[in-house]
Amino acid sequence: MIAVAVQSTPIDAAVAVAPLTAERSDVGAVVTFTGFVRDDNGLTALTLEHYPAMTECALATIAAQAAARWPLSGGVIVHRVGRMVPGEAIVLVAVASSHRSAAFQAAEFLMDWLKTKAPFWKAEERAGGVTWVAAKASDDTAADRWNDRRGESVFELRPAV
């Protein structure tokens, strides 16, 4: 019910979001999040590496969690991979629901979990060279907001040291 896609071509937001409301009159709210490459500190390009055998299943599992937690009438996750330049979209998440609160929460949940529980890695290109982006503690904190028994049993990224 939440469609997922991983692609190396540019994301077309209008095309991705249109199916959520096409031919329907029971949808009250659509929330869309789009993440873009920023030219922070002279960044010239961003490359998204991923783990192809795992990625779509990880996205589908995250999507299923959202669908289980909120009454959604539809949704879509599109994640770009490969090399892109500032201004291009990296990721698009959109969810449709009867009510705005569910749509906002589900979209924010999807982004928080995508950032911490899907096998993507960002490498930044600048004049000085290429560096891998470090995971942010703030992203872990954001993702942990949504933890419950169900969530923790499905995903446990931290090694049990």
Binding site: L48, E49, M54, C57, H79, L114, A134, A135, E156, P159
Partner: protein, 84 residues
């Protein structure tokens, strides 16, 4: 045999995308697998030196260091994810 896959700077430090190796006797967890791999080359040692910076998936599912590994498994080793 065990299939190993490396991503991001783990891949760069080890120098290959992955490798298929015979699984030695006595290696039954992610933790012991990482200890064994770290001894294979200077690159492996550098990649795996900071275990707090290492995450693992066994058969395409995120796994803790105490997770079981057995012959036939696909074990992916990588830094914390940074997508989205």
């Amino acid at each position: 045999m065990i299939e190993l896959l490396y991503f991001a700077w783990v891949r760069e430090r080890i120098g290959v995308d992955g490798e298929i190796l015979p699984l030695p006797q006595g290696i039954a967890t992610v933790s012991s697998l990482l200890d064994w791999l770290a001894g294979r080359s200077a690159g492996h040692a550098a990649a795996l030196a900071d275990r707090n910076a290492i995450r693992v998936a066994v058969d395409q599912v995120f796994a803790g260091f105490d997770a079981a590994v057995a012959a036939g498994a696909e074990v992916a080793i990588f830094p914390p994810v940074t997508g989205g």
